[in-house]
Subunit: 139 residues, 2 copies
Amino acid sequence: MRDIESVIQRFREAGLKITPQRLSIFRLLKDNHTHPSAEDIYREILKVHPSISFTTVYKTLQTLRDMGEIQELSINPERAHYDPDITEHAHTFCRSCRQIGDMALPLNAPLDLKLPTEQGGFKVHALQVHAVGLCGECG
Amino acid sequence: MRDIESVIQRFREAGLKITPQRLSIFRLLKDNHTHPSAEDIYREILKVHPSISFTTVYKTLQTLRDMGEIQELSINPERAHYDPDITEHAHTFCRSCRQIGDMALPLNAPLDLKLPTEQGGFKVHALQVHAVGLCGECG
DNA sequence: GTTACTGCAAACAGTTTGCATTACC
DNA sequence: GGTAATGCAAACTGTTTGCAGTAAC
C-alpha cells in the first residue's frame, strides 16, 4: 500500500469519498505486517468507531484490493487475510496457531518456473508461495 | 494417491470399511488431473450412485486427505479442490474460468527459500506455489 | 454381532447483497 | 444538492456436525 496521502488521492480521482471510517482503515493497514483478516480489522476499528459495521470494513477492503493497494491472501482456507505489502514475498502459515508470517523469496527462483506447455500461454499475474507448517512457537 | 489396491489395504489396516461409494470415489480420483472440488466429485459420483450424499463424499475426502493420499488445495478462495497427485508440483489458477492446472517446479527453487530468521525455526511441511493469472482460453 | 458408514437435515462460518438513511464533497 | 458510503438485516455458499438407520466385516 502506498502512503496514506497517495491512497486518498487515488480515491478522490476515482470519485470515491474519504470518510473517517475509511481513513481509520487506511491507517490500520499502512505498514501493517500482521496479515489481519476482515474480522481482525473490524474489531480493531471498532475501538475507534464503535458504530462501524463489518460491511463497511468489508467493502473498503474490496475496493483497496481491486485498486491493487492491498493483496488478499488465500493461504488460510477458513478466511481471507489482507496484506498491504504488495512487494514480492512469500508467506508462512502455521497449521497450529494459524498465524501468517512473511518470508523472503530468492530473486531468481520464481522466474525459473516452467509454465505448462500443452495449455499454451498461461499469463501469470501474481505468484504466490506458501510455506505451510509449524511456527517457532508451535513447532 | 497410490493405486486403488494399496488404498483399500490402508483403509482395512486402519479398521475402515470399503463401501461401494468409497470405491467409486477412489476410482474417480485415481489419475485424475482435473483438480475437482467436493461438489464436482459429488455430482460425478451421483451418476453411479444416485442416492449418495454430499456428506459421504465430504467425509471420504477428509479421510483420504488425513491419510495423505490426496492433497487439499487452497488456491481458489471460494472452495477447496482436491488433487490425488501428491508429488511436488505447482498449480496455475485462472482468475476468469477458475480452472486449476498443473505446473512444473524447477527442482532447485523451493529448497533455496530463505526461511524467516527472526522467528526462529518455522518448520515447513509443504510448500505451495500458485501462479494466479489467465489461462490460454481466457487470456 | 459389532463397528463403522451412509444419508438426512440442520447448524455453522465467512462472505456478499439490497436498501433506506446518512454524510461527503 | 447530488452522489456515494454507511450500517442493518438478511441471503448466500461452502463446510461441518449429530444422529438414526444401514451395511461392511
